[in-house]
Symmetry: C2
Subunit: 327 residues, 2 copies
C-alpha cells in the first residue's frame, strides 16, 4: 500500500520494508521470550500496516545529518513507532473506536483492562529501546511523550468547545502530532553528531511537517477518505475541534453561525452535506489546504542548511506525499 | 502515618519525608513548567501518602552496596514511585475502583480518557527520570515494567479460574509485585558499583520481600484492614485468586469444596463470615502467614553477604514492618 503512496521512490519503500521487518522480528522475539498474548495483541496492531512515517523520518534525518551507521539509529526509529502505537491503543479506548485501519481495536477484541495494559507494554518497550542512547536523547523522548499527554488533556477540555481558537488548536497539535515528528528528527540529528543548532533545523522540519500532517487528517476526516479506516466525520461526531470547523465558526455569522454550531453540537452522518456546504461558504476547506502548503514549504526551507543528498530528496518527497494525501 | 508504621526508626521516617519532599518538588516543577492539570491530578494521587517502600528500599540497597552519594540514586528511587503510581492509576481503571487510600480515584473524578492519559504521563515521567542512568539500568527498568504488563495479563486470565495453582499464583506475583522490588534493589546495587553477583543478592532480597508483601496484601483483603482504603473482600469480589483462596480450594473436598467454589464465584459481603470459616477449616490463613514468614526470612538471608551497617539494619526493619502489617 505505501509502495503506491510514496510514488516512484523505491528507496523509501525499501526503508519502510526494513522497518517492518525489524518490528516483526522484535515482536516475534518477545513472543518467544515469554510475553505471549500481550506481544501478540500488540503485534497485531503494530504490524497491521501503516506508513511508518515516524521511523522513516528518523532514519532520513540521521542520514541527512551525516550518520552512516543505520544500526546506530534503528532503535530510536523503532521506539518512535512503538510509542506511537501505544498512543493509538490508548486513544482508541478513549474514542471508543471499534476499528483502526479496518482492523478491530484491541479493547473491542479483549476488553478495556487488557487494552490499557497492552498500551503500557508498548510504551515500556519503546522506552526500553530508547534506553540505549545518551541521557539527552532519552530526555527528548520522555519530554515529547509528556507533552503528548498534556496536549491530549487539553484536547479533551476543548471537546465541543466552540470558542476554541486557532492558537488553542495549534498548541494542541504541536504537542500531540508535530512534537513527536520534531523530537524524532531532532534526536536523530544529535545521534548523528550534529550541533544542537543544526539539529534544531531538523526539529523544525519535523514540527512543520507534523502540523501539515494533522491539517491533512482534519481534511480527510471531512472528505471521508477510506484510507483513514474510520467513517467520515468521525472527528466531528467525537466533538473534536478541527481547524476547518474552528475557521468556519470564526468567519460565519448570523443564522449560518447558529446552524453551524447546532450541527457541530449534535452531528450525525445525514448532516454531512449541510456541514460541508457551510464549511465551503467560509472557504474553510480551502483555507486549511493553503495552510498545509505553507507548513510543508516551511518544512522544506529548514532543509536548506543541508547540502543536496539522497536523504534530502527523500525528506522532500515525504512532504510531497503529505501534500498529495489530501488531494 | 508511616512514622508509626515503621516503629521507632527515625532514620526510615526521615528518608520517607525526603522522598515525599522530592516528589512534591517534582510535581510542583511540572505544574509550573506547563503540565498543568495532568501534573495536578497525578500529584493528587502520588502525594496522597503511601509508605514509599519502593524508593526507600532503593535508597537503602544503594547504601548497603557502598553508595555514598544519595543524589546519584534519588532519580531511580523517584522513578520507581512514579511508575508504581502509573500502574495504580491504570489498575484502578481496570478494577473499576472508586477509591484508593480513601481518596477518590482519577477515573472517578475526571473520567476514563484523562485517567488513561494520566497514567501514561506518570510512566513517561518515571522513564524520563530513569534515563539519566547507563543502558543496563534502563534495561532493568524497562524489563520489569514489561514483565508487569505480562503478569497483569495473566492475572486477568485467571480471574475466577478456580483451577489456578500456587505455581500460577507465584509466577504472577513475581512479575507483578516482587519484580519491581527486586529490580529496584538490583539496579541500586549496580549503580553503587557492586558486581553483578553481589547485586543479585539484593535482587533476591527484593523478590522475597515482594512476595511476602503480596501475601500480606492477600491476608489484609480478607481481614478487611482499613489501611487498605478499600472494602474487605475486594479481591474476592473482583475474582482475584489470592493464595488463601487457592490453598483452600486445593485442600477442601466434598460439600465444603462445592460451597467454597459457590461463594468465590458469586461473592458478596454478607458471605464474609462463611468464607472465613471455610478458609480457617483448611488453615489457609495460617498457611499464608507461615509463607510470609518464610519469604521474609529468605529475604534477610540474602543480606548475609553484606557486613552489618545502618542500612542493613533498616532493610531488616522493613521486613519486620511487612511481617507486622498482617498481625
Amino acid at each position: 500500500m505505501a509502495g503506491i503512496e510514496f510514488g516512484a521512490s523505491d528507496r523509501l519503500e525499501s526503508m519502510r520494508l526494513l522497518v517492518d521487518a525489524e518490528l516483526e522480528a522484535l515482536i516475534e522475539n518477545e513472543i518467544e521470550s515469554g510475553s505471549g498474548q500481550v506481544a501478540e495483541l500488540c503485534g497485531s496492531v503494530l504490524l497491521a500496516g501503516g506508513k511508518r512515517l515516524r521511523p522513516l523520518l528518523i532514519l532520513l534525518a540521521h542520514e541527512i545529518a551525516g550518520g552512516t551507521d543505520i544500526e546506530e539509529i534503528m532503535p530510536l526509529a523503532l521506539a518512535s513507532e512503538m510509542i506511537h502505537t501505544a498512543t493509538l491503543v490508548h486513544d482508541d479506548i478513549n474514542d471508543e473506536a471499534s476499528h483502526r485501519r479496518g482492523v478491530e481495536t484491541i479493547h473491542s477484541r479483549v476488553g478495556l483492562p487488557k487494552a490499557v495494559i497492552a498500551g503500557d507494554w508498548l510504551f515500556t518497550k519503546g522506552f526500553g529501546l530508547g534506553g540505549c542512547y545518551e541521557e539527552n536523547i532519552v530526555r527528548i523522548l520522555a519530554q515529547y511523550c509528556a507533552d503528548l499527554a498534556v496536549s491530549e488533556f487539553e484536547q479533551l477540555d476543548h471537546v465541543l468547545d466552540l470558542t476554541t481558537s486557532p492558537e488553542d488548536y495549534l498548541r494542541i497539535v504541536r504537542g500531540k502530532t508535530a512534537g513527536p515528528f520534531g523530537a524524532g528528527c531532532y534526536a536523530a540529528g544529535l545521534v548523528a553528531g550534529l550541533s544542537d543548532e543544526r539539529a534544531y533545523s531538523l526539529k523544525q522540519f519535523g514540527m512543520e511537517l507534523g502540523i501539515a500532517f494533522q491539517l491533512v487528517d482534519d481534511l480527510l476526516d471531512l472528505r471521508g477518505d477510506e484510507r483513514m479506516g474510520k467513517p467520515r466525520g468521525a472527528d466531528v461526531i467525537e466533538g473534536k475541534m478541527t481547524l476547518p470547523l474552528i475557521h468556519a465558526l470564526t468567519l460565519s455569522h448570523g443564522k449560518q453561525r447558529v446552524r453551524l454550531a447546532e450541527l457541530i453540537e449534535d452531528f450525525s452522518d445525514e448532516d454531512f452535506d449541510e456541514l460541508m456546504d457551510l464549511l465551503n461558504r467560509s472557504d474553510s476547506m480551502k483555507y486549511t489546504e493553503i495552510l498545509v502548503k505553507t507548513h510543508l514549504e516551511r518544512a522544506v526551507t529548514n532543509l536548506n542548511a543541508f547540502v543536496d543528498s539522497d536523504a534530502k530528496k527523500h525528506m522532500v518527497s515525504i512532504t510531497d506525499y503529505v501534500m498529495n494525501r489530501h488531494m
